[in-house]
Structure formats: structure tokens, C-alpha cells
């Protein structure tokens, strides 16, 4: 386990949070999309986090190393809750009763989720900064 392990772990979290922000931006962009290639309105996407070992090969026999895990987005899930129905008979996607199926995206929830993703990203960059500060402090021992 070296000083760069922190960088690897926090780096994996940064990537995971970036992918989370990608899905949030997709949700917000498609908040009024009524038509998709699969048919029906856009469905809200969310990420699924899973732990991942940080290093392979020579460090794996280190028993401390096995407890330190990175994070990875392994799947992107679709929310299958029913779409919102809005009465708008002039819309091309309206059904025979005049209702249009709108995406099941709640913009307020997406905004709070986005803030959470941003804060997590910041927290992990702070971890990297801390690790760097510790390494530089260790180098000061020799001075």
C-alpha cells in the first residue's frame, strides 16, 4: 500500500460521481421528452454503485490492501414508475383520450441529486489534496 493508493481510490470515486452527473444531466435534458426509440416517454435513469478492488497483481497479497476498495458504476438503472399524464389533445403523442405520457423525472429531485453529486466530487478531490499534503509533509521530515 503506497501513498498513491488514496489517489486511486478517490479517482475511482471521481469517475463514479462524474457518471452520476452524466445520468442526472440526461434526466434534466429529457424532462419533457415524450418519444424515445424504445417507444413511450423517457424514463428516469439512475446509477448503481459497486465496490471495486483498487489494484491488481503484486499488491493483492497485502492484507491491508484487500479492505481498501474503490467504487465503480456497474449499471445504469431505469425507473419503471408510471409516467405523468398531462392533458394536451393537440400533442402528436397524445392518446385517444387526449392525454400525453410525460417522463417520470422530477426536476427538484434531480437538482438535489446534482448537488449531492457535486459535493461528493468535492469531498473526493479534498481527499486527494489531503493525501498530497501528507506526502509533502513527509518529505519535509528530511529538511
Amino acid at each position: 500500500m503506497d501513498i498513491f493508493t488514496t489517489f486511486k481510490v478517490a479517482g475511482s470515486a471521481l469517475e463514479a460521481q462524474r457518471i452520476r452527473l452524466d445520468t442526472i444531466s440526461s434526466n434534466i435534458a429529457n424532462v419533457e421528452t415524450t418519444s424515445t426509440p424504445e417507444g413511450g416517454p423517457y424514463k428516469k435513469k439512475s446509477v448503481y454503485f459497486e465496490t471495486t478492488p483498487v489494484s491488481f497483481g503484486q499488491h493483492l497479497q497485502d492484507s491491508m490492501e484487500q479492505h481498501v476498495k474503490g467504487v465503480k458504476v456497474t449499471r445504469i438503472l431505469e425507473d419503471n414508475s408510471p409516467p405523468k399524464k398531462v392533458y394536451n389533445p393537440s400533442h402528436p403523442d397524445a392518446d385517444q383520450d387526449g392525454y400525453v405520457a410525460m417522463p417520470n423525472v422530477n426536476v427538484l429531485k434531480e437538482m438535489t441529486d446534482m448537488m449531492s453529486a457535486t459535493r461528493s466530487y468535492e469531498a473526493n478531490t479534498t481527499t486527494i489534496k489531503s493525501a498530497k499534503r501528507m506526502a509533502l509533509k513527509a518529505l519535509e521530515i528530511g529538511r
Binding site: F7, G11, L14, T125, K132, L139, G142
Partner: protein, 97 residues
């Protein structure tokens, strides 16, 4: 009074022993050489990462930054080792014979 039996005390042993590092045949210069080569590799990694970022091939901005930080810390470490070695050399040169 009962003397403490040494055989009764057993310290927890680590399950895996780290591989013994054989440094006996290695000279100081080869160690420094390895270190310089390692730092060189880190710098090359950082350079590659920056180039890929500019070419639009990098997937993540933070990976480039992390590669640069790793290169920076490695270089600073090398400089510290060099300072120490030089200090030791000068100390010996100042010695009265």
C-alpha cells in the same frame, strides 16, 4: 511466585510474510538509477495523459490531474533523496584526516 512461561506467550503472526528484499548486491548508484527511471516513467505518464487530454482522447480530467500529481510527488521525493545524498557526501568531504 510462578515464572512466566515464554512458550505460553504467542504473538499474533501475520498470515503472509512479505517477500524478503535482497539489497545486498545492489549498489547505491543502481538504487538511485532505479529511482530516476521510476520518476522518469511517472513524468512520461503525466506527459502522455496531458497529450491525450489535448487530443481529446482522455476519458477523465481528474485522471490527468492525478497523473500529474503523482509525477510531482515522485520528483520532489527524488530531489529530497538527492539532497540527502549530497549532504552526506559533503559531510564526508569536510572530514579531517
Amino acid at each position: 511466585m510462578q515464572p512466566i512461561q515464554a512458550a505460553d506467550i504467542s504473538l499474533p503472526q501475520p498470515d503472509t510474510k512479505p517477500a524478503p528484499v535482497d539489497r545486498a548486491g545492489e549498489s547505491f548508484s543502481s538504487m538511485i538509477g532505479d529511482m530516476v527511471a521510476n520518476v522518469e516513467k511517472q513524468q512520461e505518464n503525466a506527459d502522455m495523459a496531458v497529450q491525450q487530454l489535448h487530443a481529446g482522447n482522455a476519458k477523465n480530467l481528474h485522471e490527468v490531474m492525478i497523473a500529474m500529481e503523482e509525477a510531482d510527488i515522485s520528483l520532489r521525493f527524488l530531489v529530497q533523496v538527492r539532497n540527502k545524498a549530497l549532504e552526506a557526501y559533503q559531510e564526508i568531504m569536510r572530514m579531517q584526516v
